[in-house]
Symmetry: C6
Subunit: 248 residues, 6 copies
């Protein structure tokens, strides 16, 4: 019997056939505006509600803004932070600015992956984290693509080694069909792709689980919505874009 | 209740479900001739009419030409400049030429982003700006694409930090389908894409809101026109180009 | 009321709704054999006939050949040169050769854009030019594409600053769909694209005005012909190549 | 009569017309999530069951994780390791960490291909290996593609020279249609491609034998499944994607 | 009345509306196996028969082989060489080998374009050449594409300046749709494209005149054949490959 | 009457209208698994049977393996080697290993093209070779593509100069539509392309003669098979893939 972590995102655990197998490192890949950050917030928040502490690594936004963003969906993490059950790792401000001085987990040089990992380890141990989200890993190798695989492998060893079940947000360009490059795609235990496609003048949201080690999962592309309470996935619906195939 | 900034562009606030959420930094992306500068002018002018001071950062045109361009649509900003409610930051002339000597906010070296930001901050504070348009950010990293994300992040921190709701014009080539590169696309709070497509021998104008943090918005591609009074968006019409999809 | 410069090319001013707004710098973009040079000659010749002096900057052909080429269409500029109403800037020979010694405006190093601009300014002032054509600007940055935008901006400031309404010829490869690169496309006030397409075994000529600051214009692709009296555009005909769209 | 090695994967030997010709080095190429590692595990496990010792070269996963992954399909290799019939070459940990200290075959610098080959040779000789799987060779030249062919040639000489029939896992990006580059594709004795395609909203698994020296083989694309007992290939079914052809 | 040079290739002068305007430099562009060299030989041979001396610049073949190739079509140039009416410039052997020692016009370093031009000038003057073919110019800049335009411009000045009507063979790859790059395409006075296309399992030969300064010409794609007497073009037939267009 | 070399491959000489014109250097181009090596073996073997000595240059395989590969089709060259009528040039082992010591023609540094050519000349002279196959030339410039043309030209001069009729195997990637690059394609006297295409779930073998100097040839794409007695080409069948054309 596989030990699973429930995402708590409506419909998502259905298509995962119960949740993400524990200790998996999942690449959450998508273009701009596809809902990657919201998915990460919701995953961590649902963990907190289920008694699983969590850590959010902020590489794209100020930690203050992250808390505001989460609160807009009704996910107020401040009480959990006070109780030592949740932490934001600030890999955004470099510790510069008034607000940053109030942060506890600050990576003074966000380009130093070794330093980031040290701070991350400390945060995971302090709160006893079971879930981690890194938003985004792409930032770590945007300027040096050859380091992509090495960076993801490093994170994977630490996150899996410390027993967490984690999400690595991977930003791809709106015109890009891959998941973030060959090294990254193969290193992850799972890949979930979020898409926003213009089809006949309308934007359509869908996601697909491309791989997930240790479990079967839906092999279909499902529509989803972003509501003011977060993401809702429709496990019984399929989005069909493209060519036909026949198996005879 | 989301605090919103009305663009005042006919039809635009309808498809934004009320306006741009305050403090958002919006990437306005499009090819040549799509109307990006006109959109920016109209956004700032409507702010002035609603009592919201503004700043225009001129990177592509001489400040004198900017004022002439705006006046051609009936938007004469000179009175607002005299009252200290509007400013043009001259990041075009480097202070060279007779006309440039009359400008108050001059970036003597437009390639020095740090200097640009200092002058911009000063202008924002002087006029108490609520709206800013930078036309265009692409110029800032045309020769050094690896700096794109860093430049946009820097601008975002300053513009959002000072409380403005701002537009960053992003120039893409006529054949390019993205919004200006992965780093830029993910850094912005919102993305509006303006398009000019040749369809069956005729040029068609349309726009689509690709993402907008903090609000729902139309998920459709809408036609728009450029008239002698500025842009008019048609919220009830949809431009359909391309493939079919089915959701079952 | 917009002040316009009539191209005098049959049909062209119709689709420009009267002509090119004065002081605009227009990118005339097209592949090999599309008629860019002929368009430029005809534009300048018609200026001379209307009392507007002109300058042709020869970067692709020997000035002697330019005069021969023009004469083949019945446009003999020599009398206008004698009267000081027309000039050819020789940015082709570097002043080498017997024929070159008879030229008055010679750019001794055509790769030195600063020098080119000095000679061009002198020629414009001497003849009191109202129209200029540069054939081609592409030559100026063929070997150094990163300089493209800077070069076009420099020319634009000088040409517009001296009050001329000018054409910059932009050479694109036969397989290239853009207008000469993002920096160039956005810097111009107007873009006219000349095309030569093989359609079902026959070569078809057409042109489209992609943008033109300060005026409305035809939004359609029009066929044109090259006759022994120059270009004729058909404003009432449309060339339709490609996909359908619907606006509902 | 060709001497063949049976993969033991249900259906696979049918489409190989009996198995892989002995001493062939087979490139197993596919994108993320296509089942390359599972294929390799199953190939080695079936060897052990048939009395053929084997070696697994772990470049992507910790040796401990490799054993866990195999056990999830019911393939517990530990008893075979104790009997000296199976070995995992650890080219992942560099010998760092508690668990690594228990490994017998450790490549202390996985980037040193010469060192890797020395350790591999030792392991092959110790267990008398008849089957080897390297997961993946792509890792060996991800950062230096020009070395790809040389690396594969080196491995081929050693693996074939020592009499093994081996699988080299080749990771390609999800959008890539080749097998890992021209040098690699031509160096291998056989190529098996595993695919995961999204067709009309559903993920479809299929494989095709592109070449196999020394034997005829199925020239069709076959569907396969990944079950909790490993891969099952359907030799009587064909997956048809794409264009028509006629032979007259 | 345009002074024209007849190619003498059956059908070709018809679609050129009488021949190539004198002094034009024509780019003869095509992939491997399209008949570019044969076209050049036939053009020069027909000149000799009409009393127009010629020069062939051999960059791809040994001069001895060039003479053999020509003789295979019944075009034996040796008598004309003896009479001082034809010359082969040897830019192939560097003067190495027994056979090369018998050549009169040898470019000792074929990579030195200046030297090539000196030898070419000498040959043109010696035989009083009216026609020249350079097979191929591509060889001159294969390793240094940035020099392409400069090289073609240099040749054009010399060849046109000395009064010849010349063909520059441009090799493009079989998959390439252009004519040899933007710099080259625009520098030539004329472009003739030879094509060999696989259409529905059969190879089809066709050519199209893309541009020709100083004359109107067929705007259609014509089929041609290579017979044992050279090329025959079919001016009354059209090869139609591709999309539809409508002019309304 | 053209002097021809019969390939002896069933059906192949029919579509060559009698064979390869003597002294031609033919590029045999194809992706992995298309049968290039088998074609080369069969060509040489049939020469031996017809009394024409031959040389095989082994760049991809150990000479011992080459002999084994040939023997699998019933082509045992060892007796011919003993008689001094056949030779394998070992450009694979660098002379390292026991087996290599028994080879007579060893290129001690396969990256030194000059050395390779010296050994090749010696082998050709020793056996009086009329046929040579180089498998593959691609290996010689895989790491330095700019040397491709120069390498092929060098080989062509030697092979043609010594009177052989030769095959140069050119490896292209499975996704590549060309023949090995512009320099290589134009340098060869003939081009034969072998293809393996997946069409509607089935692999289809076909070949096409793209060019062949000195002879007419079939202009169609023909299917072929690889049997245990070698390649069989079907001259009366055509493989049709793709678009339509009309000649009117």
């Amino acid at each position: 019997m596989v030990d699973r972590v429930k995402t708590g995102i409506p419909g998502m655990d259905d298509i995962l056939y119960g949740g993400i197998p524990r200790r998996n490192i999942v690449l959450l890949s998508g273009g701009p505006g596809t809902g990657k950050s919201i998915f990460s917030y919701q995953y961590l928040w649902n963990g907190l509600r289920e008694g699983e502490p969590g850590v959010f690594v902020a590489l794209e936004e100020h930690p203050v803004q992250v808390r505001i963003n989460m609160a807009q969906f009704g996910w107020d993490v401040r009480e959990y932070e006070r109780q030592g059950l949740f932490a934001v790792v600030d890999a955004f401000t470099s510790g510069i600015g008034e607000a940053a001085k109030k942060e506890r987990y600050v990576v003074t040089d966000p380009e130093d992956v070794g330093l980031l990992i040290d701070v991350l380890k400390e945060a995971i141990r302090d709160v006893g984290a079971k879930r981690v989200a890194v938003d985004s890993v792409s930032t770590l190798y945007l300027a040096k693509p050859v380091l992509a695989r090495r960076t993801v492998m490093l994170l994977k060893r630490v996150l899996s080694g410390l027993g967490t079940t984690s999400i690595l947000v991977s930003q791809v360009s709106v015109t890009e069909r891959g998941f973030g490059g060959p090294g990254v795609e193969h290193a992850a235990d799972g890949i979930i792709r979020l898409d926003l496609d213009e089809v006949d003048g309308e934007l359509v949201r869908s996601l697909i689980i491309w791989k997930m080690r240790g479990t079967k999962h839906s092999m279909r592309r499902h529509p989803f919505e972003i509501t003011d309470k977060g993401i809702i996935v429709y496990p019984d619906k399929v989005v069909r874009i493209g060519r036909r195939v026949s198996i005879e």
